[in-house]
């Protein structure tokens, strides 16, 4: 399911980033690699979300949240 369908406080596993090479590489280097665990720290209707990945907090804009496929941990 897309990341945008998850709830606050859930822990999910990243399956795929369906986006261009550039953005994908950038997210990979920040630790968003296939199979990594993500915790949804903050979500909002219109604004960005905050996820915890590899002990650090990342803000992700709406556009990206729709492009990340995850599955429940």
């Amino acid at each position: 399911m897309p990341l945008s369908h998850t709830k606050k406080g859930q822990t999910v596993v990243l399956k795929e980033i369906s986006w261009g090479k550039e953005l994908k590489r950038k997210l990979n280097n920040l630790g968003l690699t296939d199979g990594v665990k993500l915790e949804i720290v903050k979500h909002s209707k219109l604004g960005p979300w905050i996820i915890e990945v590899r002990g650090a907090r990342l803000a992700l804009g709406r556009g990206i949240i729709d492009k990340i496929e995850v599955e429940l941990a």
């Binding site: 990594v36 219109l46 992700l60 804009g61």
Partner: protein, 650 residues
């Protein structure tokens, strides 16, 4: 006596700048990396018989070149210019930080890891098995607390031991899956060294071009390497990092429930900014009074008397006292205000609040086609637009960058502050903070509107993406704040002594002479030039030649607008709010005064900013465009303010 060259590498927000300042103090050199506009800082640290040259690399999450900063970091670490790398690791986000550590291991350049923020880890009941980590990677991990200067010497001891070759450096690099190792092996037929093969796999474009490498079938390998590197780091972290209290970010989260709240986030931000203005105003004005008294009551008088006793010509006395002391002093008077402003902004930046502002503003910036990150250079613009325009480099794509550069000058910089301080004090006593706040706010609104229009017309682009780390809140190091402010204030004072000094002299001549020699001011060259400009400013409510000429000189530096106003209206010896009101209320209605401030806020920036725009856009076309469109917007908005205001309040 020997010299060792050390590079500081680390993630953004890991305390790298604090460590750099702890080592080098205020005596460091700021330049640019060869051929690019990224700031290069270096300084010296003495340790025993050694002089250690410390070079601060840009903060990066990886060495895979996603940006100019990463490329610079990688190129420098892999060049012969470095003896040892100090890798600063934020212990509280160990896993993500160790990724860069692993990449540095793979470059083969000797490294010592400075494990920062250990105190934070310990506070939350976490422990890190430092010896185990050092052993596992065969690299020295030294715990430090950069803010308290703890562990600095221990780190340097290890650095010297490595540089001297007293200890061998044989770190343990990750071993990859068969698929990846085969690719590395294949590349090693062209590039014998494993580190170079990995450089290709990590996607170092320019390196690939130089060595003419065939990249067929390597795309998936890049992704695989990143994943496997992170996986190995994950295992290492799990084995050596023990968290008792799962929630590391408890305190930050509590603060963020308010700061990042969809309803209260924006009012909180406005409150914070109003607090900054109030500090700037109240604290700054205490210093301002002292400096002002020094220039106008002591220095001017003393120089005047000295000249009279020595029998110096009257025109010379007038030039020195009215022109130079008036002009330079009028600018230096505001050093306290500007210093406070810079301290406040650095504090917001170093504490982690700036990232939150980007977060709450993202929603709104999306509507004008930018993302939250673009807001950070905008806030930095409140200090000075030059570093703010340079800070747009953190944005991911060129169109976003260009757009953010073009709207940046609408953010009111510190140099415009003196104009507001005096005018607000003179025409709106008691409401200074409100008047100032309204101008800063108007600047933001105009910037966003301009972004919206530019995005819809000449800078169309797809969606821009917001990805950003939200670091935990931290108390900034006092030393770093002071050093940062000192650098900026130094620049400001230097400007007062050079550019503004020269401008004051030229202006004095322009205002006291015409072709027939020395004349009354209203018959001078300056009055004629200012008169032409004033003609165009009449619909804005300030059509006097004095206003026209002062605004023209503002292109040299905005802070001279007020001192030149005072010189042009003939009260240079009394640059105070009261003096302003007394001498200028005949020329400005309060509405016209406000329109004037709006014009000063929005019109063409100073030459330093124009230079920065040229440097960063690398295009005369865009530079010219920015100059013209700002002037047009300033004229139009100030005209609206004056006409509508006069219509309503008469």
């Amino acid at each position: 006596m020997s010299t060792i060259r050390v590079a500081l590498a680390g993630n953004p927000n890991c305390g790298k700048t604090t460590l750099f300042n702890a080592y080098t103090g205020a005596k460091h050199y700021v330049g640019n990396w060869a051929g690019v506009t990224v700031e290069k800082k270096s300084g010296e640290y003495r340790y025993g018989d050694y002089t250690i040259e410390v070079i601060d690399l840009p903060g990066t999450y990886s060495l895979s070149p996603n940006s100019l900063e990463e490329k610079i970091a990688r190129d420098f670490i892999m060049s012969d210019a470095v003896d040892v790398v100090i890798n600063i690791v934020d212990a509280s986000a160990l896993e993500r930080n160790l990724y860069l550590t692993t990449q540095i291991i793979e470059t083969g350049t000797p490294m010592v890891v400075a494990l920062n923020m250990m105190d934070e880890v310990e506070k939350t009941g976490g422990t890190i098995d430092i010896d185990g980590l050092s052993e596992r990677l065969a690299v020295d991990f030294v715990p430090i607390v950069a803010v308290k200067k703890r562990g600095l010497e221990e780190v340097m001891e290890r650095v010297i031991a490595l540089a001297e070759g007293k200890v061998a450096y044989r770190p343990v690099a990750p071993v990859y899956s068969k698929k990846v190792e085969d690719a590395i092996e294949k590349l090693q037929m062209q590039l014998p060294q494993r580190k170079d093969a990995l450089r290709v796999i990590d996607g170092d474009e320019s390196f690939i071009l130089t060595h003419n490498i065939k990249m067929d079938g390597l795309q998936n390998i890049t992704e695989a390497v990143t994943k496997e590197r992170y996986d190995s780091v994950e295992i290492i972290t799990r084995n050596h990092f023990f968290i008792k209290n799962r929630n590391f970010h408890k305190l930050s989260d509590a603060v963020d429930t308010l700061m990042l709240n969809p309803v209260f986030g924006i009012p909180m931000f406005i409150l914070v900014m109003l607090g900054v203005f109030k500090l700037t105003f109240d604290l700054g004005n205490i210093g301002l009074d002292y400096i002002d008294v020094f220039f106008s009551d002591y220095l001017s008088v003393w120089v005047s008397e000295a000249f009279i006793t020595m029998g110096v010509a009257e025109w010379m006395r007038a030039l020195v006292v009215d022109g130079i002391i008036g002009g330079v002093g009028g600018v230096l008077t505001f050093v306290p205000n500007i210093a406070i402003m810079f301290i406040a902004i650095s504090f917001l930046e170093d504490s982690g609040y700036m990232a939150r502002v980007a977060f709450i503003m993202d929603k709104y910036l999306r509507r004008v086609g930018l993302n939250g990150k673009a807001f950070i250079p905008m806030i930095l613009g409140f200090g000075c637009n030059v570093p703010a325009i340079m800070a747009t480099r953190t944005l991911d794509n060129e169109k976003d960058r260009l757009l953010t550069i073009l709207i940046n000058p609408f953010m009111s910089c510190g140099a415009r502050l003196p104009v507001y301080v005096l005018f607000a004090g003179a025409f709106f006593p008691g409401n200074e903070t409100l008047i100032m706040g309204s101008l800063y706010f108007l600047g933001i609104v105009i910037a966003l509107l301009a972004a919206f229009v530019l995005r819809k017309t000449i800078l169309k682009a797809g969606e821009s993406h917001f990805v950003m780390e939200i670091p935990p809140y931290r108390l900034p190091s006092v030393k770093s704040l002071l050093i940062h402010v000192w650098e900026r204030v130094k620049g400001y004072v230097y400007k007062a002594g050079t550019v503004i000094f020269a401008a004051s002299v030229i202006l004095w001549f322009v205002m006291n002479f015409n072709f027939s020699g020395m004349v009354e001011m209203n018959e001078s060259f300056g009055a004629s030039i200012g008169g032409v400009i004033g003609y165009f400013l009449t619909p804005l409510g300030f059509g006097s030649w004095q206003a026209g000429l002062s605004l023209l000189t503002g292109l040299v530096a905005k802070e001279v607008v007020v001192s030149n106003m005072a010189i042009a209206f003939g009260f240079a010896e009394d640059i105070t709010a009261a003096g302003f009101y007394q001498n200028m209320s005949g020329f400005f209605t309060p509405i016209a005064a406000y329109a004037f401030l709006v014009f000063v806020l929005l019109y063409t920036p100073c030459v330093a900013v124009i230079g920065a725009i040229k440097k960063e856009t690398n295009s005369w076309k865009w530079t010219g465009f920015s100059v013209v469109y700002q002037l047009a917007i300033a004229w139009f908005v100030a005209m609206l303010v004056y006409q509508v205001g006069t219509f309503i309040w008469g």
